[in-house]
Structures are given as C-alpha cells and as structure tokens.
C-alpha cells in the first residue's frame, strides 16, 4: 500500500507544468467567463443573476438547449450503430486488411472539418450526388430537400465524428480474449447471446469512452451544425456566437456558455456513471 502512495506523489509532481498550463489557460478564462455572466447589463456595470433567469425561464432558449443535447444523442447513436461493426471488422481482419481499414478510419481525421463538411454540402445539395442519382434512376421527380434538414445534419455529423467512436471501440475489442468467444460458443451460447453476455459487457468501457467523445464533439460542432443545418436551425454554439459576436451581449453569451457547460457536464457524468456500473457488471 505504501508503495502505491509513493507513486501517487511522484505522479502529482510530474503533472505540475500541465496543471500550471491548465490553470492559466483554462481555469482563469473560465472564471472570467463566470464573472462576465454575472452582470445584468451589456456594458457590465451591475451584478446579478438576470442573465441566467432570462435563459432558464425562457421556453425558447430551453428548447434550443434541449434540441442541441438531443442532436448529440442522435449522432452518438448513429455513430455507435455504424461504428461498432466497423471496429469489429477491423479487429477481425487479417493484418494486411487492417492497414487499409485503419487508413479508412483515420482518413476523416486527416482532412479539415470544413473540407469534410463542404463535401457533405456537395452530397446533400439539390444537384448533389444523392438527388442526381435518385432522379436519374427515376425514383423521384424533383430534388428532395436534404441539406438544411435535421436528418442531413445528423448524418453529416456522424460521419465527421466517426473516428472518435471507432478508435476507442477498436481498443476495447482488441483487448478481448478470442478464447472467451470460443468458450461461450462451446458452452452452447449462440452468436447473439455471446454478443450480449460476453462481448458487450467486456467492451462496454470502450463504448462509453467512444460515446462520450462523439457526444461532446457533436453538440459543440459549430462548423458542421452551421453549414449543414443552415442559418435557421439554432443550436447552442450558434446561439452563443450570435449573442457574443453579432449582438455584443457578452453577459448573456457567457451565461449561455456556462449553462451549456453545466448541461454537458451532467451528460458526461451520466455516461461515466453508466460506465462505472458496467465495470461491476463485467467483473461480476
């Protein structure tokens, strides 16, 4: 036990430079943000909580918050649905195929978000790939509206954030001992049962990590939300930008940011709790 305490103190000292960096460039600005949010007027002369009241008592603003958090859920679910099989395919492929697959998985990370998002504009537009293909196949007569719709945006966000889901799941899956699957099969479990009772519990921490990353990235993805969602779909990042940049209303923008941060922290805590519960489940 004493050896473990030693390691702990040593670890802390090593973290000092990072902690100083963190304090100077994250904590200090955060406190400034909180301070700004506690002003009642735009020119920041009087203190008070009116900005928070203005947001929390306004159904429209709460709607924007709820919608943003919900979009995150949709994107995360889609990423998991498409990303898990991809991670599975990667882990189960022979080595030569893995090299190719890892390139496919990482490729989105190597291009800028702006470029990826513009590609989606080209895909989803009225004269985009999907509409042109459907029209030429005779499935539809006039182009469907795909761009500037929630569905289009969720798909684009899912593609943009996919690596954040796939990579942690791959890590979890590659640590899974293949003998366990054979053992499960030998004991008479079918594929689905093995998946539910063995694979899922053992890879759950990886799935939670992936969901956490995807969720956080999806709800704050200002660029993709703006370019694919358009100017009439309002989400929290755009709301903050609008209030701070266009209207110069820094106190309200700061209050929205703090509320958004708090809401995200709650979501993250929930994810973590699920993750911790699963740990006990996996060991049991």
């Amino acid at each position: 036990m004493s050896a473990r305490t030693d390691t702990a103190t040593y670890d802390l000292k090593l973290a000092l430079p990072l902690a100083a960096f963190f304090a100077a460039f994250f904590l200090a600005p955060l406190f400034i943000l909180i301070f700004v949010s506690l002003h009642t007027d735009v020119s920041m002369t009087k203190m008070g909580l009116t900005q928070y009241a203005k947001f929390l008592l306004d159904p429209f603003s709460l709607g924007v918050l709820g919608h943003t958090l919900w979009i995150g859920v949709e994107v995360t679910a889609l990423c998991l649905f498409l990303g898990f099989p991809m991670a599975w395919a990667y882990v189960r492929s022979p080595r030569w195929a893995q090299a190719g697959l890892v390139l496919v998985i990482l490729l989105p990370l190597l291009t800028s978000v702006v470029v990826r998002t513009f590609a989606w504009i080209v895909i989803l537009g009225r004269q985009g790939i999907i509409n042109t293909a459907l029209i030429e196949l005779g499935v539809i007569d006039s182009p469907l509206r795909l761009l500037y719709t929630e569905g289009g945006m969720v798909v684009a966000l899912a593609q943009v954030q996919m690596p954040l889901m796939v990579l942690p799941v791959i890590t979890a899956l590659s640590r899974l001992d293949p003998n366990l699957l054979d053992a499960s099969a030998a004991l008479g479990a079918g594929h689905w049962r093995t998946f539910r009772k063995v694979i899922l519990p053992l890879t759950f921490p990886g799935i939670v990590a992936g969901c956490l990353l995807t969720y956080a990235a999806a709800i704050t993805a200002f660029i993709t939300q703006t370019l694919i969602g358009g100017g009439q779909m309002l989400f929290m990042p755009m709301y903050i930008y609008q209030q701070s940049s266009t209207l110069n209303n820094w106190p309200f923008a700061a209050a929205i940011s703090i509320i958004f941060l708090a809401a995200v922290l709650v979501a993250v805590t929930l994810f973590n709790m699920v993750g911790r519960l699963s740990k006990g489940y996996a060991q049991a």
Binding site: I121, R126, L147, G231, Q242, S245, T246, N249
Partner: protein, 348 residues
C-alpha cells in the same frame, strides 16, 4: 551558485514563454497594424492600398491582420490601453457600436488631403467611408432567363424552393429585411411588414444561410437560383465561372458604408491617419474599382468605369439616385430583438 530545481524550472518556463510570445518583450514600438476584412478585401488591400501607403510614407512598415468586424471590436475591447490594432474596418452596424463603446479616435479631418472630395454620405468624422458595399438581387442566368427587376420578384411562385437568404447575423440579412419592410410601408424602426413578407416567402425558401459567404457558394451548388446578394461576393464567383448575375432592383440597391477608423490609444495615430487618407485617395480608389476588385469608390474625383458603371451607377450623381442608404443607428437599437424574433419564427 546553487540553482534549485524550482528556480530552474521557473526560469525555463519564463524563457519558453518569451519564445512563445515574443510580443511580451516588445510591447511598445510596433509597426502599424490594419485589421482589414478577410478574403477578397485582404487581397485588394494588400495589392493596392498597402503599396500606395508605403510609397507615400517613406516605406513605413505595415501589417495586415484580416478579421471580421466583431473580432476587431472584441480584440480592441480586451486591450483598450494597449490595443493590438491601429486601424479598424467596419460595416455600419459594428462601426456605430465601436464608436459608442469609445474604441475609436476621431479622424483628423483638417489634416486630410482627400476627405473633402468624398461624397457627403461618406464624410464621417469618426471614420470616413473608403468604399461602399452594395446589395442587390443575385440570380442564376442559366436557370432564370428573364432578369428580375424588383425585390418583389423573389416572391414569384415560379421560384418555389429556389430562393436563398441569410439570417440577421449579417449586415446583408439585416439590411435586406429593413429594405423589404420599407417596400411594404415599414421603416428602420418598424420591420413588422418585413417579417410578414419573409413569412410569405417561406414556400420559396430553399436556404437560410448562416452568412453571406455561405449564401454565395449555394449558387455554385445549384441549391438556390435567386436571392439578395452582395455585389462583390458575386463578382468573385462570376470570375470563377459560376453562372451568377447581379442586378440593382428598381427600388434601389442597398448601399452600406464601410468605414475605416483609428483605434483609440493606438501608438501609431499619425501613420494610422495617413493610411486612412491613402484609402481615400482617388488613385487608390480608381485602381480598386477595376477588375478583379470592383470596389465601389466614394471619392467624387474617381470617374466610374467598367463593371461598376455598367451594373451600378455611371457617376456619383447617378449613385445617389440609385443607392439606398439606411439609418443604422436606428437599426442597431432594434437589431437584438429582431434577431431574437428571427430565431423564434423563421423555421423552414
């Protein structure tokens, strides 16, 4: 000397910081910094204004630091005593905000060589207008054979699902809303009619873009075929072979003064004033009026020519007749509530 680990670490950090932020040690005596706009404005200013300014001022050093109006304001506001910018460029809304917040030094009108030659609308002692931005109707001539002539044409049923506008975050979006309201009997103080008109436009709307840059690219994607557009943004697309045309509607094209300001507490006030004067000079403005820049001049000594004379106005008297200027002081008073209303009501 015994150096403790801690002090070694501190000095190493300090040295590192000085390398990372060389400006820490050079807080004073910096070169002139001009925050122009991004994109084609930066190019135009780098190619024409900067050489002209340096030639006239003994090769004075200058840095262009392109950023949006609101970012300029934020940067100056954050360091009011020692601003990182000397000269700001603003659309009418942000310009008034910057002046109201005391971020602007008056332009020394008496010392200026060219100020008196500007058209009356461009003469602003807190910061003159070196050029105008013009908003008219943009359309795709491949798809729309008969050129539109009035703002009202955008509401025609034949353009169902083909119209693009921006939200009110941009000067373009806000100015256009005011113009539509005016067309239907409203004013800068009362845009009720404008909101009603946008409500009626919904069947035609294919896109509400987040900003004018995005709006312009939608013509390229074939996503939209008609809508309000910025003259300069359209010229850039046209130069790249995108089928777009600009027409000034018969109600008049909306003109925004883009104003240039000396930043309060700038360490380079004199050079800043010289740069502004250079931007008002007829030679500079004449050159900026040519292709590919096509920037609308404000100096009456500049003879209108080329695309600007063809599409907008043949001289400054004509310009006065054809351009519509808006009262941004009034608009700014209400803009926050309009944006809120747009957020709530405009869903397509």
């Amino acid at each position: 000397m015994i150096v403790s680990r801690r002090s070694l670490l501190t000095s190493a950090l300090a040295l590192g910081a000085m390398h990372a932020f060389p400006r820490l040690t050079l807080a004073q005596a910096r070169r002139l910094v001009f925050a122009t706009f991004t994109g084609s404005w930066e190019e135009a200013h780098k190619d024409v204004l900067v050489p002209a300014f340096r030639k006239a001022n003994n090769n004075a050093e200058i840095t262009l630091d392109p950023m949006l109006s609101m970012d300029q304001i934020a940067k100056v506001k954050a360091a009011l005593q020692n601003p990182p910018i000397d000269v700001m460029l603003h659309d009418p809304g942000p310009a008034l905000q910057a002046i109201d917040q005391g971020l602007v030094e008056p332009f020394p009108v008496a010392k200026s060589q060219y100020y008196k030659d500007l058209i009356a609308d461009a003469q602003e002692p807190m910061g003159p207008a070196p050029f105008f931005q013009v908003v008219g109707i943009t359309y795709n001539p491949d798809k729309i054979k008969k050129p539109p002539t009035s703002w009202a044409d955008i509401w025609k049923p034949e353009y169902k699902g083909r119209v693009g506008i921006t939200n009110l975050n941009s000067t373009l979006g806000t100015g256009w809303l005011v113009e539509v309201a005016r067309m239907r009997g409203g004013s800068e103080a009362d845009v009720e009619a404008g909101f009603k008109a946008i409500e009626e436009l919904k069947p035609n709307l294919a896109a509400v873009a987040a900003n004018p840059g995005q709006l312009a690219t939608l013509y390229q994607q074939g996503q939209i075929d008609i809508g309000p557009g910025n003259f300069n943004a359209i010229q850039i697309l046209k130069a790249r072979g995108v089928p777009v045309e600009f027409v000034a509607p018969k109600e008049g094209a909306i003109a925004f003064k883009t104003t240039i300001h000396i930043v309060k507490n700038s360490p380079n006030v004199e050079l800043a004033a010289k740069l502004i004067d250079a931007s008002l000079a007829p030679e500079v403005q004449a050159k900026l009026m040519e292709s590919p820049y096509l920037i609308v001049p404000t100096n009456t000594k500049v003879k209108m020519a080329g695309e600007i004379a063809r599409a907008l106005a043949k001289d400054h008297a004509d310009m006065k007749k054809k351009f519509v200027f808006q009262d941004w002081k009034k608009i700014n008073e209400h803009r926050a509530s309009w944006i809120e209303r747009f957020n709530r009501d405009i869903k397509i």
